[in-house]
Subunit: 171 residues, 2 copies
């Protein structure tokens, strides 16, 4: 994992002044590092039987579908409003300033399915919480939440209390 960590690039003042953005594109560009991240994330949930992996656009899709392939699970995209063509369920969640909205297809999950939520980054946890609500609304069970990087100082874990949260890299 030292190799993977060394490829996470700090970009200062993105998306705004004072924020240091964790750029994961050098990890994605390196086949060995990319494979390591997916293998290690899969290893974190090796004790679970996963029916579906869900993830939010766009970076979440990258890790979510890779995990789904690795765990032989289905993949469910959770999207911003107006992107999914079929009937959807919607949820609103709090952002630092204002509100975010997410949608998932109304037939995405079956009752009782074990669903793993995957994202590249756990920050304040708003997106993950909204996604969990969408998954549970359809009667599925959240088996766990997996993140490549967790920004511990933003306390996303508190917002997501009660869920099984596992991260590869905590900063």
């Amino acid at each position: 994992m030292d190799h993977v960590r060394s490829l996470i690039r700090d970009v200062p003042d993105f998306p705004k002044q004072g924020i240091i953005f964790k750029d994961i594109t050098p990890v994605l560009a390196n086949p060995t590092a990319l494979r390591t991240v997916i293998e290690k994330l899969a290893g974190l949930f090796a004790d679970q039987s996963i029916d579906k992996v869900a993830a939010t656009e766009s970076r979440g899709f990258i890790f979510g579908v890779s995990l789904a392939m690795r765990l032989d699970a289905g993949f469910v995209p959770i999207r911003k409003p107006g992107k999914l063509p079929y009937q959807t369920n919607k949820v609103s969640y709090s952002l630092e300033y204002g509100e975010g909205h997410l949608e998932v297809h109304a037939d995405a999950f079956r009752a009782g399915e074990n669903v793993l939520f995957i994202d590249d980054l756990l920050a304040t946890g708003g997106t993950a919480l909204g996604s969990c609500q969408l998954i549970e609304q359809q009667g599925a069970r959240i088996a766990g939440l997996g993140f490549f990087i967790e920004l511990g100082f933003l306390n996303g874990r508190e917002l997501l209390e009660g869920h099984d949260i596992r991260s590869l890299v905590t900063l």
Copy 2:
């Protein structure tokens, strides 16, 4: 592939009246179908040595990173403006009405690398053409363009003439 085809869902009048949208989410949700699509796409390019797979957000990421993992290549995300944190190269391309814009990190490709462009859908080919320009600007070589679904009647192949285009399903 019959199983995969049967899971592509027609959604009428999305995103606007008169368009029949090809909904691939039932394919993604089915682990066997998802694996089949990735294996078959990989098979289409088995004669090529691929260094990197590039794809555009958001659905393109799903197939692009899966192919990268399968081919043991790196993955490069091509994004809408303002999403990538580091220095970028930009390109504009024609849409049915107006212009689209894409960006890629300025250090995404090395000169001489073999790059496979992957997307879920070949329609008019504008996004693919813009992406190819970004890849070639950095001195990399387009090894081929792979699509899950090709809408043959929109003639995307004409716009992309000179490139090696391979599709799994042509409609």
